[in-house]
């Protein structure tokens, strides 16, 4: 028909495309085979440069070809004058730039460019810095370019001040620049370092002090300016995360001291339980146990086979060494790798003993933001609350306020914290699991603190929407635990660290796995009503809890198993033998 544009049919188009690709593939394969053949034959000539150029232009990530190209260039260098070498490598830089246009994040290209600059008789660092500026203006987060920039800065002696001004410009033109903020955090401590504490300069360095050439912290005067900068950024654009992350870095994060946090001794079991401030591999830590001045030959074991790195380790004392209750004993655990130790006295008439720093003393739960003084944290909390009034649904603001409140007064701010978490889950539902887990963590921390203030060994956290368990290493001394009416899915291997547990209540959860109920020497009563324990095999580990006398499984799918009573008596013979009450 007239006036109708002739359009090729889809089938025709497809066929043409297929033929085109087949052609391209053939060309690529023959060039590749030719190159690899030349390489094996050890040929380092112009043809090698041409072939590799052809291939790398469309496929700059083919790393082997850059390697070959370097071999060829080194060979050619030997037969050229200095100014020819300069030209040779300058054109190489030109070629690399073309390849970078194809893939600005090609490891091969950036690496080759760095190498070329080491071969150039006269490198032009200004040009290189310009290239970085251009690449970063196209993609502010190209980490290859940032790394390359750091190399250029180092080689050409650009000052830290200049680089800091560079970040000023980038951040000033666009607050959403995660890489610039990050770069800033590395420059500031060099330019405005926090002065070292006075005592360090006078005394000889103790073996426990970590050798720091310079602190990663910034001096107070500059820090206050940086807070203002961060405020400007997140008041202007509260939804951009980069300023918030920078702000959290400014507020500081305390490092926990490496130490033995608890030593527990049981006369009856003649066993020592040790809790460390972080997960360790006991056999590699140079642990030494001294009883009444005598070093003991002991074997350390973890509380669960799946925990090869664990904060809690156990060992058995030689039989009869502490079993006589009329004797007093002094025990010391030495952690020789960290030059620290902990003593524990086992008094006459006492069946057990322990030595533990309180969580408050250890500043256990303040490691999120606690380097700053309270007055600074308080002022920052006020600023964030002001922003919250303007932007009540801003998740970054809410989360930062939660962290600030925890750093200042975790128990005092508990109610507000829970309210903020509720808001967070509403405004950012995609991360509601994260918030639930984080809230669970904070509630567990608060319960540990309350338990300590009350000086009891009962841990109770029921009906609190707990979705996860953590800090189980802090519950080594707990005898009773109530986790009922929550949303727990499992009692993980870490639960086996509760070496003193006698009673467990965990009704009305969604627990499927009881892995952590494993060799708990004092466990007598377990209530797991209305959970999700489905198979008999899920109960296997309970056989290792030899003092278990009461087990309530009503409301679990497994409870409907045919002949549940006889099945259980086979699986848990000790439980059923002892006139136990199994439901």
């Amino acid at each position: 028909m007239h006036g109708r544009v002739k359009v090729k049919s889809t089938a025709q188009q497809e066929e043409e495309k297929r033929k085109e690709r087949e052609k391209k593939l053939k060309a690529f394969v023959s060039a590749r085979d030719a190159v690899l053949r030349k390489r094996s034959a050890g040929e380092h000539d112009e043809e090698a440069l041409q072939l590799t150029q052809q291939l790398l232009s469309s496929n700059p990530d083919f790393a082997t070809l850059w390697n070959y190209r370097r071999e060829v260039l080194l060979q050619l260098e030997t037969s050229r004058e200095k100014d020819e070498v300069q030209k040779l490598y300058e054109s190489e830089l030109h070629f690399i730039e073309a390849c970078l246009k194809v893939n600005p994040k090609s490891y091969g290209c950036w690496h080759h460019r760095s190498w070329v600059n080491t071969r150039l008789p006269q490198p032009d660092w200004t040009r290189e810095l310009g290239l970085c500026d251009r690449c970063l203006s196209l993609d502010e987060r190209n980490f290859h370019c940032w790394d390359y920039r750091r190399v250029v800065v180092k080689e050409s002696g650009v000052s830290v001040e200049q680089e800091l001004q560079f970040t000023d410009r980038l951040i000033g033109s666009n607050f959403s620049n995660y890489s610039s903020w990050h770069y800033r955090s590395t420059l500031l401590p060099q330019l405005h370092p926090q002065p070292a504490p006075d005592s360090a300069s006078n005394t000889s360095p103790s073996p426990t002090a970590s050798p720091q050439i310079h602190s990663h912290r910034v001096c107070e005067e500059q820090l206050l300016k940086e807070y203002e900068l961060a405020h400007n950024a997140f008041f202007t654009d509260p939804n951009d995360q980069s300023a918030w992350f920078y702000y959290r870095w400014l507020l500081g994060r305390a490092e926990r001291e490496e130490m033995i946090s608890c030593v527990y001794v049981s006369r009856e079991r003649e066993r020592v339980s040790v809790a460390f401030s972080k997960p360790v591999h006991a056999q590699s830590e140079g642990l030494m146990l001294v009883l009444d001045g005598q070093p003991q030959q002991v074997e350390w074991r973890s509380t669960h086979p799946r925990l090869r790195h664990s904060p809690v380790w156990l060992c058995d004392l030689p039989p009869g060494s502490v079993s006589d209750i009329s004797n007093e004993h002094n025990l010391t655990v030495h952690w020789t790798e960290k030059y620290t130790h902990r003593d524990c006295a086992l008094y006459t008439g006492c069946a057990e003993s322990w030595c533990r720093d309180s969580a408050t003393d250890q500043e256990l739960f303040r490691s999120e933001l606690s380097v700053e003084k309270s007055s600074v944290l308080q002022a920052e909390l006020q600023s964030c609350n002001q922003l919250l009034e303007l932007e009540p649904q801003n998740k970054w603001c809410l989360l930062t306020i939660i962290l600030l409140m925890r750093a200042l007064d975790p128990l005092g701010h508990e109610k507000e914290t829970l309210a903020h978490f509720q808001t967070l889950k509403e405004v950012d539902p995609m991360r509601s699991s994260y918030y639930s887990d984080l809230c669970s963590k904070f509630l567990i921390e608060n319960t540990i603190l309350k338990m300590e203030y009350a000086e009891v060994r009962v841990f109770s956290l029921s009906n609190k929407n707990l979705t996860t368990l953590c800090h189980l290493d802090q519950l080594l001394l707990v005898t009773h635990i109530n986790l009922s009416s929550n949303q727990l899915l499992r009692l993980p291997p870490q639960f086996a660290m509760l070496q003193c547990l006698e009673v467990l209540e965990a009704d009305d959860n969604a627990i499927e796995s009881l892995e952590g109920l494993y060799h708990l020497p004092k466990l007598e009563e377990v209530s797991l009503r209305n959970n999700q324990i489905c198979k008999l095999s899920d109960l296997e580990s309970l056989a290792s809890c030899t003092k278990l006398t009461r087990l309530d499984l009503r409301g679990n799918p497994v409870h409907k198993t045919a002949n549940i009573d006889s099945e259980l008596s086979q699986l848990l013979p000790l439980l059923c033998k002892s006139q136990a009450f199994v439901v």
Binding site: F62, R306, H309, P492
Partner: protein
């Protein structure tokens, strides 16, 4: 977002497995050939996904092991593909594949140890049995203790 009305809310495991099982036979495909420079890692990624789906047996174990053998160089390092240069990345991928197949010893293990000086290298050393290094899970390429701490179980996709 209207897309959610029509997009599936479960993984189409069979289709994913079929796709990966067929992927290796795409030797006449342009993109496949162009990605030859990372072939060893590509194989590793495909194998781990099949393993997570419980379908590792559909992959050609013998062919892959022969391929790895052909990629080990005199220096001990392993390349992404035959004729390419050895590199830490692909040496690690090869070691991870062989861990999955429990066949570490088809390569010259003693020689492999030399090129490792980075985090990837440390992971590789761990898989090769170095006792001074934490155990590493070859599927997740993360230390076992981290997986335990965050409660990540490998049987995610059943």
């Amino acid at each position: 977002m209207t897309a959610t009305l029509f997009s599936p809310n479960t993984l189409l495991l069979d289709k994913h497995a079929d796709y990966i099982a067929a992927y290796g036979s795409k030797k006449d495909d342009y993109e496949y050939t162009l990605s030859e420079y990372l072939r060893m890692s590509g194989i590793y990624w495909g194998l781990t996904v099949m393993d997570l789906m419980g379908q590792l047996s559909r992959m050609n174990r013998e062919e892959i092991i022969e391929f790895i053998k052909s990629c080990q160089h005199d220096c001990g390092g392993i390349s992404a593909s035959t004729g390419h240069d050895p590199h830490l990345l692909y040496t690690l991928s090869a070691v991870q594949i062989l861990s999955l197949y429990d066949s570490i010893n088809v390569i010259d293990v003693d020689k492999v140890v030399d090129p490792f000086h980075t985090l990837f290298g440390v992971a590789g050393l761990s898989l090769l049995g170095d006792e001074q290094i934490k155990p590493v899970n070859p599927v997740f390429c993360m230390p076992e203790d981290v997986l335990q701490r965050i409660g990540l179980q490998p049987d995610l996709l059943n």
